[in-house]
Symmetry: D2
């Protein structure tokens, strides 16, 4: 295992940290003041400061760093610390055009998009001119099991017709969001000929297509994450030419699988960045507030809480680096257990450390005077999004037991299973 | 130990459950639709349905049940299950005029209020005509240590002059809130004559008194708990006649101590009610959602999660009943350890069980489609309000070690401490 | 719920505490010195002091207190604190003739024994003249699932023939052990006529019966619990008259079920007594040892550890009392969830608190200078014996979900399951 | 960070694994049968098979691998996986002459020993001809605070005189143990001139020196770890020439500090090896035992238990490799937090995973039929030895807060502390 960062990556780390300190962090309050949020999402506006920051980031060549193919050509190990740095600010990812779900969507188009699709959607996405959403999760079924999907994407002649209801389509409320990647079943649920991993398709849907209706925005712990939003969207007889299908009808599952690996590294490193930031705030508060004649750091179990947080963050980071390194060296498939491991560990470490930071801040920690509730909501969602903890633990156990079965078979001790 | 409920209490339990089912739960959606919330707290309005529910509750004699003296004359053991029942709905406590901080404020006035104070404030509070707030916590200091308090309440002739800044004054945003109980230092911080438990006073402050300024409302996990609100309030040379002092200058600490015991039973039982409700929702979802061909209840560790939640709720309830029984039989002072114990246990059980319920609901659990985030915010605040977990653990350990010291002394084995 | 102890029980509590303090605790060292332990179990001897203590206990009428029918006629709620008191000493239960598995075996004989069986075995057991063992668990199968049982008890004419291998037959190494209760299948494993709860029988087997062979004693964390021992026993064509069958052929399961309820209260209360004792030792050490200029109690998270232990013990005790109270008032069957709950909670609380006590004692806590390792082994075994945690959590979840199903059915919301 | 193993190390890993599989593991039962254990430590004998294994290991050049200076010249990163491999067998370390406390003692002699000391003691130790013990911990004080030490090592003319009582002197019961390293105060406790890190000395004491008395062996969870043992030793006016002092009078603390870094990597990697082995056993049992018609792996939360164990082991290993890498690249002093972190994490992961493995094995897991109790005892001791968890958490928190103070100072925000 080698987690050493290339010279290129080391230079980027330094430049990104400087940019964060000089431009992004100071802009957070301006952003908040320019943000027209509120419950009526149709009134949401992009704060001007964001476009200014994006220009500066582009000028500084801190742009599309996530993209191995056409971006900064970084390995996962090299991108990981950059993702961690952006985890300290909820507005940072967009500044650097590294915001989910655009990152995943761009990767999909780079790998599977037609020339036309790339020209129409990938280019403006990479330029930061538009934003996108991803419509997969559905309200009526347990989406942790992807085979539950009910939305349909049926070929009729040279068109494909979409029907269904999706939710948790993050970013769809953004004024710049212009396109959706929609996933649906292309064969009927009782089809027994097509194997279950070739029954779905992914389609590029311009947001203004007839039949696409954003029904509402869903809050997370009472916040709408304006101006991004998490939308519930209905699709009623939405008709698109077959050229809108990504990679061909029936390849939805394959594309979805490939989409998730790097995205999980990004999310986990951002969660670790959030946890690291929360620990900084925790320690500062622990030193600066005094009760019973002592700084909080010297009271009760607070020192242990700090030590435990430090140990958990260190371990989560190392594990994520290992997963990244495996993806770089042996590929996503061989890193399946490790990817599931970080997907469980990083968000749980983050929620726990942030919660501990809240606690030491007292009431202030639960208010908006500190970024803790926003970081918490981000990390808490991650325990569900991209596969809930439960599914990932199942994957890890399955792979572990497979290894056991192989070991037993090798020594001729055939298990009963 | 005897946790058996009196016949009177048993009848009240049945009636309260019916009232909740018939009137309160069905009204929740109407309440939400009538609520004018939003970030501008000056526009908050009392939903009409609430006044209607209050009238019905009064007619049904389900009113002021919390009050041992002039209310239903229930013991703490008898009131506990009633508080638990109201924990299932965030709007229930006001319906029955059993909402914090009014409950604590009313108790203070019953015990320490002058005839004039009772007439002016206790009577309209008990009638549900007005609401009140309690101003104790301060933004600039660690309020977990009450001796940190900086606000002043200084006697000048026949007046008392208040200065300082308070926050987390819950309920102060309510349109019906008319009066505050303010706590401040009446002797200077370097006074060495007055013992530290006689340096503070509590004063009744009409909300429209000159110099009282509500600066803003504080969100909790992004929600303002409209129309109650948690306010930050400044007091600048607020002058009131000495008749506004409760119980006499210098009795603030004594009154504060007495105020907390029953309130903690109420809060803890409500938290347990919230946890019980969350477990119901969890089990229902676990049976109704299907993934990988099975209801979630049969997948992974979900059955263990259910079992663990059940065990923790049972234990938290029994412990709270024990604390209530001790308060009833040997008094608050002898129940100090038990009261601190429930104050740690009940909110932690509630947050954990609610979090588990969120997880099994997937994204829906984090939205407002279920009451889980509201219940979570309530329970999470409780880990800080009325003394954070850390302070209560300290109290429990101190009393335990005192017992050890006594035991060692009795056998002549004098410890080094 | 009413956990108040009867006057009779209160008097017994006081007398038992006195007896423990005056006679049992001081005898522990003598007992240890008289004990001929070691790996060769055939050399184990009953320490004389034990017989002396038994005589004293009998004289003091502190004898067979566990037995509701012919003993002290105590309810489970009344017996619970007595069991807790005996949990402080590993030698106490035998002193009072309240030692597992004799207690369970005596209960079985009281309820199901024939007159002959009572005369031959119950009387000497109740008199403390002999001891007994219980042979149920088997080495070759997962005994957490009782239907896995492979040992057979087949009727041949007027005899019953036993075959099989049992282990964890506790107490079988004791010089006074004279009789076994053996459980085995009386119908073949592929019998489809007999329902699965009527396929087993229980048989009284004198230890010197031909074909009964104690193969070895099993250590628990390296201790053999001399002179009791946990035996592995083989049964090869052991022939006994049908009069040796308890309650009739095929009633094994029924008897086993009834046997477990009160026994779990006993074990759990003893585990709680062990935890309470460990917390006492922990607090004493925390006050008496000094590091970095302070008693350990004032260092790091030690106060929190003490507070957490106190809260967990309190809750475990209340839960056990609730289970006892339900057994007394509504019966074992209605208390099934609560009995499983305490079976999970009490041993886990005990192991955790004892482990914390070990930690604060440093190396000494792991040695035999303190009783902690012996208490730990006892509590740790309980997490497996009489049903492992996992099985009990399953029972609790199942009953909880059944309640959910009933609730949903009542409101017409039929679940998918 | 680069955890890649050198070619040399990779070859050693393969050879060590082979040697373990071919020679050590098959020898474990023979070793156990040849071991003359029991409570009378004076009768303990070295099993012949051990000397045979040592010869084979030496022949295979798998000898003194731990020693960077004169042994295999491995970095800590390179030695780590070798230590992990030996963690699977309690007898392996001695086979390869890599057994504590000899490893630490040899390192001390390599670095600080005089030529004479090296000739007399280091050479036979490195040859595996003799063994040694380390006498630091004392029964009368909290040894977690090294300044508590009461034993004295006072210079009188050209002699040094030792007095005091030590315990937990591991390995002192071994028939081959010939020498002790003793640590004691060389200035009086009320000396105010000598700084507190120059008050102690380390002295080489032949075990047969007059005045050295082994008082007893201490069991750990009822096992004596025969033939190594953990001794309690008294020193009464033990006189030695000044040439027996290591590195000079007053350098005891300095030597002790240096002694601990690599030793902690060894212990932690062995603990991780033990955890990995326990997880293997757990998974095998989970697949091979059947209850309620399914292998245990498919029941309840068992899959989650497996997944959690895998994640914790992975993280603990990575953290230990990071600490090793830091020791190799920036030195022990800069790796202080990381060394303390692994010292907390690795033993706790090991005890928890081993406990989970015990649980799934049922009663068998607590017996000696599986190595789990022996592994558990080893890992449990580690939570106390070489600094208890509590002290290490304190170190981690202190270093974290120091970093916070520096950060705050850098931005001019001087903390109150």
């Amino acid at each position: 295992m080698n987690f050493a960062h290339s010279e290129n990556a080391q230079a980027l780390i330094a430049r990104l940290q400087n940019f964060m300190r000089e431009h992004v962090i100071p802009a957070e309050k301006i952003y908040a003041s320019q943000l027209q949020g509120g419950t009526d999402w149709t009134q949401w506006r992009q704060p001007e400061i964001m476009e200014e920051l994006k220009r500066k980031a582009k000028d500084a060549s801190l742009w599309n760093l996530f993209l191995p193919e056409d971006g900064a050509r970084l390995t996962n190990v090299d991108y990981a610390p950059l993702a961690e740095i952006t985890g300290r600010s909820m507005i940072a990812p967009e500044v650097f055009n590294c915001n989910a779900p655009d990152t995943g969507n761009m990767e999909v188009l780079v790998k599977y998009g037609s020339e036309q699709q790339k020209r129409d959607w990938l280019q403006p996405l990479m330029a930061g001119q538009i934003r996108s959403a991803f419509c997969m999760t559905e309200p009526e079924v347990a989406s942790s099991d992807a085979t539950n999907m009910q939305a349909t994407a049926v070929v009729e002649g040279d068109e494909i017709v979409l029907n269904g209801r999706k939710w948790w389509s993050s970013g769809i409320g953004h004024p710049n969001c212009k396109v959706i990647i929609f996933m649906g079943r292309s064969v009927s649920a009782d089809d027994t000929h097509t194997d279950k991993h070739h029954q779905h398709s992914m389609i590029l849907v311009p947001l203004d297509t007839a039949g696409v209706q954003i029904e509402r925005m869903l809050p997370v712990f009472h916040t709408f994450d304006e101006p991004y939003g998490h939308g519930e969207v209905s699709f009623r007889n939405v008709r698109l030419p077959l050229s809108a299908v990504i990679g061909g009808v029936g390849r939805g599952f394959e594309i979805a699988q490939g989409r998730l690996g790097p995205g999980r590294i990004h999310h986990c490193m951002r969660a670790i960045g959030a946890a690291e930031y929360a620990l900084e705030l925790l320690c500062e508060r622990a030193l600066q507030r005094v009760a019973f004649g002592k700084p909080l750091a010297k009271l009760g179990a607070n020192a242990d809480i700090i030590a435990n947080a430090r140990m958990r963050i260190e371990q989560a980071r190392l594990l994520t680096l290992k997963a990244a390194w495996m993806m770089d060296t042996v590929g996503v498939k061989s890193a399946m257990s490790e990817i599931s491991q970080i997907k469980v560990i990083a968000p749980n470490v983050a929620t726990d450390v942030i919660d501990a930071a809240m606690q030491i801040h007292g009431g202030a920690g639960l208010s908006n005077d500190f970024p803790l509730t926003a970081l918490y909501a981000y990390a808490r969602v991650l325990r569900i999004a991209d596969g809930p903890d439960e599914v990932h633990r199942g994957v890890i156990a399955k792979l572990e037991l497979k290894r056991t079965t192989n070991r037993l078979a090798a020594i001729g001790d055939v298990s009963d299973v």
